[in-house]
């Protein structure tokens, strides 16, 4: 839940601040969690970061692209609400699927058609699509393992099945029979 809150927070601020002009940066910083500490976030600083991060960031995990830690591959270096495409184009946070689609092409096309990911809404009416980062943490995109619900209760026949395994009655009898047949055949051959 914390992750979801964090991500939704990121995106809310992303969407809100896309309406805010660049001159109103100080106000945005109040809401944007990174900017509370990182007012003077420079490119040089980011490139010198080492993992693991400071105590405040222990909850953030970076398991995307084999522990890629170059923030600026996706994040814009001068604006925390913008993303860098690989060709240098800047896009807003809400357009982020384009960015993901640069590497995850087939899934991006599936997502555009509504095949990948969950759709909410009425079956025959309008549906709402989720964007990538609403389900996947961009910094650790693989789905976390979860606890399964309780299995169905075994029918009473299941106990009998275990007993059968302890005493494999059918298999022994058939084996004995085949052995007998074999020995008979052997005797037959010997007499011949």
């Amino acid at each position: 839940m914390q992750r979801i809150n964090f991500i939704s927070h990121l995106f809310m601020t992303g969407i809100i601040s896309s309406f805010v002009t660049a001159s109103a940066w100080a106000n945005v910083g109040d809401n944007y969690p990174c900017l509370k500490c990182h007012q003077n976030f420079s490119k040089a600083k980011i490139l010198n970061l080492t993992l693991p991060l400071k105590k405040e960031h222990q909850s953030l995990s970076f398991k995307h692209m084999k522990n890629e830690k170059s923030c600026l591959l996706c994040h814009s270096d001068n604006s925390p609400n913008e993303l860098n495409m690989l060709d240098g184009k800047k896009i807003s946070m809400s357009e982020s699927p384009q960015l993901c689609g640069q590497c995850h092409g087939p899934i991006y096309f599936d997502w555009q058609e509504g095949i990948h990911g969950k759709l909410f809404g009425k079956g025959t009416d309008q549906k709402r699509k989720f964007i990538c980062a609403e389900c996947h943490d961009p910094h650790n995109p693989k789905f976390k393992k979860m606890k399964a619900e309780a299995p169905p209760t075994r029918p009473k026949l299941g106990i009998a099945k275990v007993e059968h395994e302890e005493k494999p009655m059918n298999s022994t009898t058939t084996n004995e029979k085949t052995n007998e047949v074999k020995s008979e055949k052997k005797d037959h051959h010997e007499t011949e």
């Binding site: 058609e113 509504g114 759709l119 009425k122 025959t124 789905f143 393992k145 606890k147 399964a148 169905p152």
Partner: protein, 324 residues
């Protein structure tokens, strides 16, 4: 007492009126039995046990109820009112029984992405909650999730009872199986009383619980083990009851009838998705209208390599699986 027999139908209606008007004494009860001789043996024991007058009247109402397809709108309203009354009496819960009709131009199909399913059984619990199934003794679940080793496809030797603190378990994949809503359903053909049928327009296979005699032929006929029998009265507490009910899907079942998945008919015919679809945490399930070429389900059928279970039986399932 075939549903098509109209002359008997009128007689039965008169009988019902008489029965409901006069409190039943043993003598008049036996007289009544003489008229309906064919069906006499079964209710005799049950009628003795009935003491309360309200229960008695609802017993006779159920006994003389027509087949679902032959009921007029008024009859249906009466039946729904009776079911609501019975639930109120037995569990003290106000429920609403409806009968949503098929949407024209819609035929439902389901697709499930086995690469995405993580075996968390969220669909199973959501289904049980939505459809008012018996929670224990008998425990009825429409969806079975089968765990199999990766690289194999042998559902019959799969594990239904896997435990999972953190699913997906190492080296396993999961195959959820529920009613396939076959286009050529073997289960409806074997019913001796036509209590189960495939809806002609949207293709859902449904059961009239009040018409079912509980012979369990359909359970034997179904190759997907999708039909379940109520060996006892469903075990469900008042808090667990879902009050949005429909006659053909999730109303409380009586003892001794078959039940099955109906793609949450009461939801889907009102434009919602089935409960299992909405509960899936990974988005593996896709539900939609196969007649609409722009729906996701049609696109999946076009673009993905889908397969069905037991294709060789020619049941033509409307439940498709795929990997991607």
């Amino acid at each position: 007492m075939k549903p098509s027999d109209k002359t008997k139908g009128t007689k039965i209606e008169k009988m019902t009126e008489v029965m409901l008007a006069n409190p039943v004494k043993r003598r008049s009860f036996l007289k009544g039995l003489g008229v309906v001789a064919a069906a006499a043996a079964a209710p005799l024991g049950a009628a003795k046990a009935i003491s309360d007058k309200a229960e008695e009247s609802s017993f006779w109402e159920t006994f003389f109820q027509k087949h679902y397809k032959e009921m007029s709108a008024e009859d249906k309203l009466k039946v729904f009112a009776r079911i609501e009354r019975e639930t109120k009496a037995s569990h003290g819960v106000e429920v609403k029984v409806q009968d949503p009709q098929a949407i024209p131009g819609v035929k439902y199909a389901y697709a499930l992405n086995l690469s995405r399913c993580n075996g968390s059984r969220r669909c199973v619990t959501a289904c049980v909650r939505e459809n008012n199934q018996s929670r224990h003794e008998p425990e009825i679940q429409y969806i079975k999730v089968i765990e199999m080793p990766r690289g194999t496809m042998d559902p019959e030797n799969g594990n239904l009872y896997y435990q999972g603190e953190s699913v997906p378990n190492e080296g396993k994949f999961y195959l959820p199986v529920q009613c396939n809503q076959c286009n050529n359903p073997p289960c409806t053909k074997v019913c001796p009383v036509e209590a189960t049928w495939k809806e002609s327009s949207d293709g859902l296979v449904v059961v009239d619980y009040d018409w079912c005699i509980g012979c369990r032929y359909c359970q034997a006929a179904c190759p997907y083990e999708a039909r379940h029998f109520n060996f006892a009265k469903p075990n469900i507490t008042a808090e667990e009851i879902n009050p949005n009910q429909s006659y053909l899907s999730n109303r409380l079942r009586p003892k001794g009838v078959m039940e099955k998945c109906t793609f949450c008919l009461h939801r889907t015919r009102n434009g919602k998705n089935p409960a299992c679809h909405d509960a899936c945490p990974t988005g593996a399930r896709k539900f939609g209208n196969i007649m609409d070429p722009e729906s996701e389900i049609s696109k999946i059928l076009k673009e993905k390599r889908v397969f069905v279970l037991k294709e060789e039986l020619n049941t033509m399932p409307q439940f498709f699986y795929y990997f991607d």
